[in-house]
Amino acid sequence: MTRLSPAAEERAFDGLFRECASDVHAYAISLLGDRASAEDVTALAFERLYRARARLDERRGTPRAWLFAIARNAALDELRRRRRRPHYELDDQGSDALDGNAARDAGGPEDALERVERRETLRAALAALPLRERELVLLKFHGQLSNAELARAMGISESNAGTRLHRALTRLRDCCADLDHQEVA
């Protein structure tokens, strides 16, 4: 989104919106646990990106990375305003959607059941993660950002971002393993 004609800029922005709106929303709702806040953050991220589109430098990151960096700032601002721990428990609609997502994936009923169970375990493991690590995992998988883009969004070095991501995923894995063992026991 650097120095395009206004029409091309509009098209690029529209394309980015269609590609990323649901991901930004998913990241925000996963982090904030609140649909209204997530929608606010999503809209705010696009608004800020639109206002800053003339200053975006693609050499310093893709528009998607910029968008998620903005969304992260907006989400953290929202967390800061609320001054309370965001709940990660999905409401009934979220659980239903989880079941629906698993059922729609390819495979038979047994596969779908396994996916539901696995995702329930994963959801519980994510909820058990410290907020900082959970936010990193969400940003990585919802934003689909590279480590360099993650580092830029978080304002830290790339190696530091890699270390944090490694630690977060390792802890997530351990949490999942613990939950599996508990279920088996």
């Binding site: 998913a26 649909r35 696995r118």
Partner: protein, 424 residues
Amino acid sequence: MRIIAFPGGEESSPSEETWLAELDAALSDQAGGPAADSWRELRADVRSLAPPVSPEFMQSLERELAHPSVDPVRPARRFPWLRARRSSPGVAGAPRVLGAQRAIGRLRVLARPQLAGVVALVAALAVAVAVVGVGGTGAPGRSASVEPVAAGPSHSAPSVAGSQAAPSKGVTEPNRVDDLGPAAGPYSSSAGAASAAAAAAGRVQQLAASVSLSASPGNVQAVSDGVSQLAVRDEGFVESSHVQVQQHGSSEATLTLRLPSARLSAALAAIGRLAPVSSESQSLQDITNTYDAARRRLADATAEHQALLRALAKATTEGQIDSLRERLSQADGAVGQDQSYLNAVSRRASTAEVEVTVLGSAQASSEGLTFHRGLHDAGRVLTVAAIVLLIAAAVLVPLALVIAALACALRAWRRYSRERALRV
């Protein structure tokens, strides 16, 4: 079966860099194999945990994109509905905060970097211009010297060879500074002598000035004539003049003018318009004591003359009458002499001596002179501009450093505050 296919969960972990590289390669679909599939499956699982975005929200967003209410000046209004959404319960930014947000939004206009830069630049330039204006000097080559030398009670005749001055029997009162009134106006605008004159109210002062003009050799005579005409026009006269014009080489003219003191500044300005001024100086001499002494001497002589006349009227003998007449004759001479001296002193105070030198050189041809003046003026403009820029930089650089430091601190604080929100 609830075993999660988690990469690196079973085998020994590779190095962190390799692990991260494999993760990035798998997530960007650039790698294959079970490990990469596991990463992608984990990503899909994490992404599937989030509830889907509501269709109403997406529709409202799409509507806004399809029919953007874009204000080219304020693109922030692209999503005006956002403000309304923020007023929804449970969301930060309550309705009562919206007014304050709008006010802050207006103030944020001032926080735009471009606008802030322009404001700072204008302020710095204003300061620089003010500093230059206060500390600025006059034109180069101009000087004003004040010589507050109180003339002693010298009885020697002043060196005024003003033979053209009409010999007046009456005593002409000189223009004391406090008597000049509006006529002293022009002095108050010139530096040095004028300010000293203004400060010395009630004093009798003698002004003098010298001006050097540059002209082409063929133009020396014309400039000299112009100077003479100016002197006559300003109710003055040419006391002496000497013009030397050579066919080859330099020409020169020297004129000594006597001008009314009250018109000195205007006359100097008019002379400066005849040709470029290469140098100019003004001087001031306080002659109050000389004037007062001359007036006292005249008063004494007049009183003695009156006393002799009275004594003559009372004389009864031929001897007394002859003696008094002889003394009266001497007293007449003294009164005339003292009156002439007082008139001369008054003339020194009421007129200013201006010495004008016109130097003609081949380099100062008419066109060259204009070019030279242009160069001189351009150089002066550039010098002043450089000074203004230097002062502006002296104001702007520390200001920019302070603003940059504040911006860095604010940014760091905001980042710290955001990250602190994750420390729960």
